[in-house]
Amino acid sequence: MITQVSSSLYHQLITTFDDGLVGKDALETIRRNAFLRFKEQGFPSNKQEDWKYTNLSLVLDKSYTLSACSQASLVLDRAEIPGLDTYRLVVVNGKFRADLSDHIVQKGVYICAIEEAYAQPGFHEHFAQYADKTDDAFVALNTALFQSGLFIHVAKNTALDKSIQVIHVSSSVESQFGQTRNLFILEENTEAEIVESFIAQDSESNSLYNNVSELVLSENAKLQHYYLQTGNTSANYINHTEVYQKRHSLYNQYNCTFPGASFVRNTINVRLDDQNVESHLYGITLTAQDQLVDNHTIVDHLKANCESYEWYKNITQDTSTAVFNGKIFVRTDAQKTNAFQQNNNMLIGEKSVIYTKPQLEIFADDVKCSHGCTIGQFDEDALFYLRARGIGEEKARVLMVHAFAFDVTERFSNEFVRHYVDELIEKGLKIT
């Protein structure tokens, strides 16, 4: 059923594909099938549970250009994390720019634009094997029409000597609809840290990005994965992250969103498809003005003896909206699962809104699962206590928000990122 026939973007995209703009490449069959799925489904509407609180018409009922024209000069300072030495990879308007990126010489690490990776080992084995199984129209659309993105391959027994920082820059002169596709493969016994920063250049335009990342963690792979959303009102994001984990692998995600981008939807699915897998999802969302930030997560326990731990904190200011949906599946085979989920919310703006929904679906009988959710406001007594010791009101508020976020920020594996995030929280609070 096509639910958004009126969407101009939908029509534009349908025509594009039929025009053959994509051209024939090695993925033709995959793309064609994905396109049919998208064409049939159309964009979701808020009648669908997963989009109930996130009004897509805000970003879909607009016209976009499908080929971006980048601004002349790029300023990447915003993404700089003080003290952190990284391999820097730059993606501009969805396109990987090797000319702006560091060349990684470490043996066992291979990085290229995804459109140049079709012949790389592992590509066909993993590409579109995970995210595309989700019935998500945005994933289908991305698979059908993505033009660029990043391919990272870490070969067996390799530990990265530095973090990789991926800087996603939105720098379009006109309002662009961009689609980035990433595939990160960590082979057996590997270790890596990937920090993805989202920034936008100041612009009058209003772009929309539909990004899909597939991450594969083979046996005994360890990945620390940061998302730092620090865009501005010129860019909106629909991000899908699909993580597939094998035995003894560890995936830690730290998903941070700050005031800026008006519309951010993160769909994060983690599939624990082997025994003794460990996954941690941490989230900090600080919103301001009329921003909407929606985090939809799925932790899918498919096999026995796995552990997952999820903790999301939302802080809403002004008239902003935060959405959290945390689904945990424990499938029939997933005995001895240990799953934890916690979501705490702090409403600062009197007219801000939080929608939160923890959802547990348990089909095994010998498991340990817990979840909790709180919604609160500034504790006025605590605020007075701090002020009565000479701490100014603004500083006292910052201290209290830091304290609120602390359960999550203290888990950050990288102290430079932690400091950077603490500072972004402070800055994000001053906007109002």
């Binding site: 007075f384 010791r389 701490i391 500083k395 209290m400 830091h402």
Partner: protein, 256 residues
């Protein structure tokens, strides 16, 4: 140092303080006693600037500064300190970080640069000893999971660190066992000097055996109805408040 004239204050339209007068000079310790509901804690809250209390009249000056015009933080920066009856737990804010922020905010107000880390730690060490405050507690989150006694001791530790001109102890003795009481009182006594002053609010005479006051005032129906020396506290301990209430009520009636 502190001059309170005809102070009137209400909370949620209920008049609590009905014309309170008090003069405190540097080097003095004043005890304020009184039955439940007489307005003792209201007085502490109003002086510290809690926003849920409304001041309807009167004035309060601290060394010439009109306190009632100042925000709670500026009152603290001017040298006022309130030891809370119920100290607040703030998980995620470390005790030390909190103190460092407070010390430096006060210094900034006085036009001083932030305290050197070494000097700060030196002072922490010294003051911890003074109030026998466990170093492990200082590194924990602010009051989180502290026992009642530990929280009260933390208040006195903060008092020692911030070195205010005027400290108000709001029922600091409540919930303390005799050992904790002695430690807290001992800390306060060591902090007494000719340059600072204390207002000790308490129900019981017990605390005043350890912190010996220069003056004792009895608060009743929002006013100070009797003032005297430490002997007044002993008299109250012996006779209770009823005789005083009766005589004040009779005076009121006669005035009508």
């Amino acid at each position: 140092m502190l001059s309170i004239k005809n102070l009137q204050a209400s909370v949620e339209d209920k008049q609590i303080l009905k014309g309170l007068n008090l003069e405190v000079k540097a080097g003095e310790v004043h005890a304020i006693m009184g039955p439940n509901g007489s307005g003792k804690s209201t007085l502490a809250s109003v002086l510290a600037g809690r926003e849920s209390y409304e001041v309807n009249g009167g004035e309060v000056f601290l060394d010439g500064k009109n306190l009632l015009d100042l925000s709670p933080e500026d009152r603290a920066r001017e040298g006022l300190f309130l030891a809370f009856q119920y100290p607040i737990e703030i998980p995620g804010v470390s005790n030390i970080n909190f103190l460092k922020t407070a010390v430096n905010e006060i210094r900034a107000y006085q036009g001083l640069p932030p305290m050197e880390a070494k000097e700060f730690l030196q002072r922490v060490k010294e003051k911890q000893k003074l109030v026998e405050f466990d170093a492990k507690l200082a590194n924990r989150s602010l009051n989180e999971g502290f026992s009642g006694g530990e929280k009260k001791r933390n208040e006195i530790f903060q008092l020692a660190m911030l070195e205010p001109k005027l400290a108000i102890l709001d029922e600091t003795d409540s919930g303390l066992d005799i050992d904790a009481l002695r430690i807290v009182a001992n800390g306060v006594n060591q902090l007494r000097s000719k340059d600072n002053a204390f207002i000790v609010i308490t129900h019981y005479q017990r605390l005043l055996e350890y912190i010996v006051p220069d003056f004792v005032h009895v608060l009743y129906k929002g006013r100070i109805v009797r003032s005297g020396t430490k002997e007044l506290a002993l008299e109250l301990e012996e006779k209770g408040y009823d005789w005083l209430k009766e005589s004040v009520d009779a005076e009121e009636k006669a005035a009508l």
